[in-house]
């Protein structure tokens, strides 16, 4: 079982969380010219690394906050958790 450190509640069991996917994807800026390719990259294309991955999790059965988790996709080791406003 994964033990995830919610930045607000501390270490909690994986059962309390929902996954939110890759945290590095950036939606194209509003009010700018966006090519089809840029939009496709945002919607569909992923780096999908084997190794460290920055991702979103939601403490859905706890404080209901979204936050970032830096986790290794090959070993499942959690390196760091961050609030949404923080960067690695």
């Amino acid at each position: 079982m994964l033990e995830i450190r919610c930045p607000y509640c501390g270490n909690r069991s994986q059962n309390e969380f929902a996954y939110g996917g890759d945290a590095t994807i950036k939606r194209p800026e509003l009010n700018t010219e966006v090519t089809d390719q840029e939009w496709d990259n945002f919607v569909y294309y992923r780096k999908n690394p084997r190794g460290n991955h920055l991702e979103l999790w939601h403490h859905i059965s706890g404080c209901r906050q979204w936050f970032k988790v830096h986790r290794n996709t090959a070993t499942h080791e959690i390196l760091k958790t961050l609030e949404m406003k923080e960067n690695l």
Binding site: M1, L2, S13, Q14, N15, Y19, G21, D22, D36, Q37, D40, N41, V43, Y44, Y45, R46, K47, N48, P49, R50, H53, E55, R71, T73, A74, T75, H76
Partner: protein, 418 residues
């Protein structure tokens, strides 16, 4: 190749089984091949077999970083079905279902094809209506399927929870009689043996580290056993696709996720077909050894680990016990995980790429096993003719740019919500 038959069995029994031929050779890689398939799983082996059989290519190699049939073809739950609603999916997978019928004869290897029927249970009127719609769509595509009521389901699986206490009462189900199972390892070994017999070099413990590309054309691959020249390479590496694509400077609409399955201790014959629970994600069949083979949801976070965590197993088995209360008395014998190449619309990608001579076969999500023959056939066509097979035109990569997605479940890009 020594042909397998009842006579060869008797003959070898008389000599204490000491004189069987090696099933496939263990050749050294040559300097150059006409085509190279990366990945010695079901799809890679089938692709090489059909390239040799139908497309007259004899100088082919399969490069496998581990051993033949050690990845997802050994880790699936062996289910065959073609109960899809979209035309592209139902025509493609049903072509595959027709290929399964004669596969054992074609390969001279018993793949233990067993069309025992697959039953999708409905637990509400609305769900039964949805199944009626899907069944009608399948019938329009010529696939035999029937909608059955609660009483008929009760005759098939009387040990399911039909009491008034059932948390999710059974309203009926959608039955595809030709659905069933095949022995997954035998599929890999059968294709490997037949491909080897046609001259395909199966090279195990040979990892591809890079590609040689000149002026947008492939000229060779760099492997852990030296550089090999080739003009065509087909990727059949499932969960590792993004890792190889990165070496080609390609990003793909795909995420890797771990999916677990488990088997119970073996019991006497209980369940003769495949049953899926409709109120959650749980499905079950019984292997020939008597184990109840069960699976369900992805663990639900990006993963390249071929193992998962217990909360998912507990979740899946909770659903199992809600459907079949008698499962609660069984012990779990084994659990395992495999890495799924989850595409962004839940459908596979079979296509050429922007690099001349590089071909992609990936994105099978958790449904690749049943497609092994048809995937091999259509991918072989794509590699040999440099153009998609009629059946696989809808599975081209550019659908993510044109908007012609094949999202059977309507989940969008949240691949982990299986």
């Amino acid at each position: 190749m020594q042909k397998y038959s009842v006579f060869s069995l008797i003959k070898n029994a008389l000599t204490n089984h000491q004189n069987w031929d090696v099933v496939w050779r263990d050749p050294e890689p040559k300097k150059e091949y006409e085509a190279i398939i990366i990945g010695g799983g079901g799809h890679g082996l089938a692709t090489a077999f059909y390239l040799a059989k139908y497309y007259n290519m004899k100088n082919i190699a399969i490069l496998e970083k581990g051993w033949i049939g050690g990845g997802n073809v050994a880790r699936n739950t062996t289910i065959l079905r073609s109960n899809y609603m979209h035309d592209a999916n139902s025509l493609f997978y049903d072509h595959g279902m027709q290929m399964w019928k004669d596969l054992s004869q074609e390969l001279n290897y018993n793949v233990m094809y067993s069309p025992r029927g697959i039953l999708n249970l409905a637990h509400s009127d609305a769900q039964l209506n949805a199944y009626a719609r899907r069944g009608n769509s399948m019938r329009l595509n010529g696939i035999d399927v029937s909608l059955i009521g609660r009483e008929e389901v009760k005759k098939m699986i009387p040990f399911a929870d039909f009491t008034s206490n059932a948390r999710f009462p059974i309203f009926g189900g959608l039955l595809q009689p030709i659905g069933g199972t095949a022995r997954h390892d035998a599929v890999a070994w059968g294709y490997a043996r037949a491909a080897d017999d046609m001259g395909v070099d199966i090279i195990q413990h040979c990892e591809v580290n890079g590609f040689d590309i000149e002026n947008g054309k492939l000229t060779g691959v760099q492997t852990s056993r030296g550089n090999i020249k080739t003009k065509k390479v087909g990727l059949c590496v499932a969960g590792s696709t993004s890792l190889l694509a990165e070496k080609l400077n390609m990003n793909l609409p795909m995420e890797a996720h771990v999916l677990q399955a488990c088997v119970s201790e073996p019991v006497k014959p209980l369940l003769d077909g495949v049953v899926t629970f409709g109120a959650g994600h749980f499905y079950c069949s019984q292997s020939d050894k008597g184990e109840m083979v069960m699976g369900g949801d992805l663990d639900g976070y990006n993963s390249y680990a071929q193992r998962g965590n217990l909360p998912t197993i507990q979740h899946v088995l909770t659903e199992g016990v809600a459907l079949f209360p008698n499962l609660s008395r069984l012990k779990i014998l084994r659990t395992w995980g495999g890495v799924m190449d989850m595409s962004m619309d839940g459908s596979p990608i079979i296509d050429k790429t922007h690099i001349e001579g590089v071909y992609l076969n990936c994105g099978w999500c958790y449904g690749g096993f049943k497609a092994t023959p048809v995937s091999g056939l259509t991918f072989a066509h794509t590699i040999a003719n440099d153009t998609p097979h009629d059946l696989s035109i809808p599975f081209r990569l550019d659908r993510f740019n044109t908007g012609h997605l094949l999202d059977e479940k309507g989940l969008g890009t949240k691949t982990w919500i299986s």
